[in-house]
Symmetry: C2
Subunit: 346 residues, 2 copies
C-alpha cells in the first residue's frame, strides 16, 4: 500500500449544532496519510488537540510507528475553532469573530462522522485516537459510536472536564480578555498583551513542579537556551493563534462532558458505560491538567477499557507522541500500547 | 497573664533595603496579642501571608490553641506591600504606586528584627511561625537568626520559590496588568477586569483537582451557595486589595530564596544548613503551590528539622490554621505539632 498524503476541505453546508444553532457553510480541513484499503477496514481517526492542528499530528505518525501510514489510513480532522476547520477567524460574516457559536465535542464528532460516511464511505473506523482535546473527542466518539468502532485511545484527557481544569481555562480566558484590545472579540489586530498573559497562565500547567525544576522544558522544541526562550516560544505559539479561536477551543474544552448528550440525559456514567468497544486510556503520571487519577473512576465504568499510565516527568506533553515534546521512552510506551490494541482488534 | 490585644505602628525611618535602595519613612503595622513576660522569653512572631493581614492571623490564635495569647506574646508584623505596613498604596509620594521598590523577604525580617529589638527589647524570640508567604519569612528568619531563635514553623511554604510557582505568579501578574486600566501601575481607580483575571488564576491553585471535585471550596468562608459565589468571594477578596500591593507582594514571593543574602552568596543549601534552631516544617499533602515534596530536600539540609506533612484535601488552605478555611482535623494537627515543639524548646 502506498503512503499518500493529502489535505482537503470537506464541506458540511449549514451544519446543525447541539445547541440547535446553525453553523453556516461549515467545513472541516482534513489531513489524510496512507490509503484506505478496499474493505475500508484500516481507517484510524486521529483527532487534533488544543493549539495543535493536523500538522502537529504528523509528529505521532510514521512508518514503523503505531500509526503507520503504510498500513493504515490515518485521518486527522481538525477541531472546529482550530483556525483550520470552521472557526471564528474564517466563518461567514454573520458568524465571524465574537459571533461564532459555542461548538461542543459532540458537534465535532458529528461532523467527523459525516466526513467518514459521506466522503470515505466508512461507518466502522478501526480506531479513534487523540491527545488532550483529541482524547476528549475520543471519549465522546466512543460514547456515541463505540458499538461500531474497533477501539478508542484517549491520551492525556478525561471524559469529563474537571472543575479545576475548568477554572484554569477560565483564568487563561480572563487573562486574554483583560486586554482592552480584545474588545469583546472585535479586535482589529491581535490583543498581544492578553495573548501573552494567556500563554503564561497556560504554560504554568504544562509540567508539574518536578518537571520544571529538572528543566525538562528547556529540552522542548529541539532545545531552548533558557527560561526566557521557553516563555518566548510558547508566547509565539499562542500569539500565532487567533484570539477568538483560542477562546472557542477553550469553550469546547470547558464544556467537555460525554454525558451532555440527549442519549445520556446528562449522565456521564451512562455515557461511559456505552463505550462498548475496547478502549486504551493513557494518562501521564505528571499531567496536572488531565490528572491520571481522574481517569480511574472513568475506566471503571467502561465495559472494556484498560488504563495504562505513562510513567513520565514530561507532564501534559508526555502524551504528545512526539520525541520533540517528550522523550523516546514516552513515545515508545504509547506506540507499544496502541500496537497491542491494534493487534487485538485488527 | 492577661490577654492584651493591640495594634500599633512601628516607625523604621528611612529603611535600607537589600537592593541598596532606601524605603522612605518606612513602617510596620504590628498586631500583638498577649503580654511579654519579664524575661521576654514568651515572644512568638507570627508572620502574615499573601493577601492576609494581621486580622487573618487571628484565626490561628486563641486560648487553648497552640498560639495561646494567655501564655505567649504573639506578634504579627504585617508584610511590606500588604497594605498595612509600608506599601505602594501608602508610601511617601516619591515611592508611591508603581514607584515602590522591590522588597525581599530579608527586608521584611530585617525590619521585624529591628521591631523586636528596639520596641520590645527581644533578641531571642521563642518561636517564628508563618503560613504561605509567612512560612517563607520563617525560613528566611531561621537562616539569618536561627542561632538566637527557639524554633521556626514554616507552614505551606518553601525556603526557595520553585520555578513553577514563579510561573503561576507571573501568570497572575500578567493577567492583572493586561487590563489597560492598570496603566503601568498608575491607575486612578482599581483595574477591576485585571483583578478579576488575577483572582481566577490564583483560585485555580488553591485546591488540587480532588479537593475541587469534592466541593471543599463550597465549605469555605462559612459556606457558599455555589461555584459562582466562590469565585465572587475570591474576586471580592482580591479586588479589595490595591493592585500595586498585590504585585508588590507577588514580587517578594517570586524573589523568595533564603540563599539570596550576602552571608550565603546565593547558596540556598548553605542558608538551609544555617537554620540551626529546631524547625517544624509542615506542608499540606494537597498543596499545589508549595508542594510537600519540595520541602523534603530542604529539610534534609537543615540541622534540626522535622517534616510533618498535613494529610489533607484542603490544598493550600490546609495550613491556614483556621477552621473556616480547612477543618478542625487540620487545625488540630498543626496545633499539636506546634505544642510539641513549644514543649521541647519552652
Amino acid at each position: 500500500m502506498g503512503n499518500k498524503h493529502e489535505t482537503f476541505t470537506f464541506k458540511l453546508g449549514d451544519f446543525k449544532l447541539q445547541s440547535g444553532k446553525i453553523l453556516k457553510d461549515a467545513f472541516l480541513i482534513v489531513d489524510v496519510q496512507g490509503e484506505l484499503n478496499s474493505a475500508k477496514s484500516n481507517a484510524i481517526v486521529f483527532a487534533t488537540c488544543f493549539g495543535g492542528d493536523h500538522n502537529f499530528n504528523q509528529m505521532g505518525i510514521g512508518e514503523g510507528r503505531a500509526l503507520d501510514p503504510s498500513k493504515y489510513c490515518i485521518i486527522s480532522p481538525n477541531l472546529f475553532c482550530s483556525g483550520q476547520s470552521s472557526s471564528p477567524s474564517n466563518a461567514s460574516p454573520s458568524q465571524k469573530g465574537s459571533k461564532f457559536p459555542l461548538v461542543t465535542y459532540y458537534d465535532n464528532i458529528n461532523a467527523q462522522d459525516k466526513l467518514l460516511q459521506e466522503y470515505f464511505g466508512i461507518t466502522n473506523p478501526l480506531l479513534y485516537i487523540g491527545f488532550s482535546m483529541g482524547a476528549q473527542q475520543a471519549f465522546h466518539w466512543g460514547a456515541l459510536h463505540g458499538s461500531r468502532t474497533g477501539g478508542i485511545v484517549p491520551i492525556c484527557g478525561t471524559a469529563k472536564t474537571t472543575f479545576q481544569n475548568w477554572i484554569a481555562l477560565e483564568g487563561c480566558k480572563l487573562a486574554l480578555t483583560a486586554d482592552a484590545a480584545f474588545d469583546n472579540g472585535n479586535y482589529t489586530s491581535p490583543p498581544s498583551i492578553g495573548l501573552k498573559a494567556f500563554s503564561m497562565n497556560y504554560t504554568s500547567r504544562l509540567f508539574d513542579q518536578k518537571g520544571y525544576e529538572e528543566n525538562l522544558h528547556l529540552g522542548l522544541f529541539g532545545g531552548l537556551a533558557d527560561d526566557h526562550a521557553y516563555f518566548q516560544t510558547l508566547n509565539d505559539l499562542f500569539s500565532g493563534i487567533d484570539a477568538n479561536n483560542l477562546i472557542g477551543m477553550a469553550n469546547t474544552w470547558q464544556h467537555g462532558d460525554i454525558g451532555k448528550h440527549e442519549k445520556f440525559g446528562g449522565s456521564t456514567a451512562k455515557a461511559l458505560s456505552n463505550i462498548t468497544c475496547p478502549a486504551l486510556v493513557m494518562p501521564s503520571s505528571s499531567d496536572i491538567s488531565f490528572v491520571a487519577e481522574d481517569n480511574i473512576p472513568e475506566v471503571k465504568k467502561m465495559p472494556d477499557a484498560d488504563l495504562k499510565v505513562i510513567d513520565s516527568k514530561y507532564g501534559h506533553f508526555a502524551g504528545s507522541m512526539s520525541p520533540a515534546l517528550s522523550s523516546e521512552k514516552e513515545v515508545n510506551f504509547i506506540d507499544d500500547g496502541i500496537k497491542d490494541l491494534l493487534e487485538k482488534i485488527g
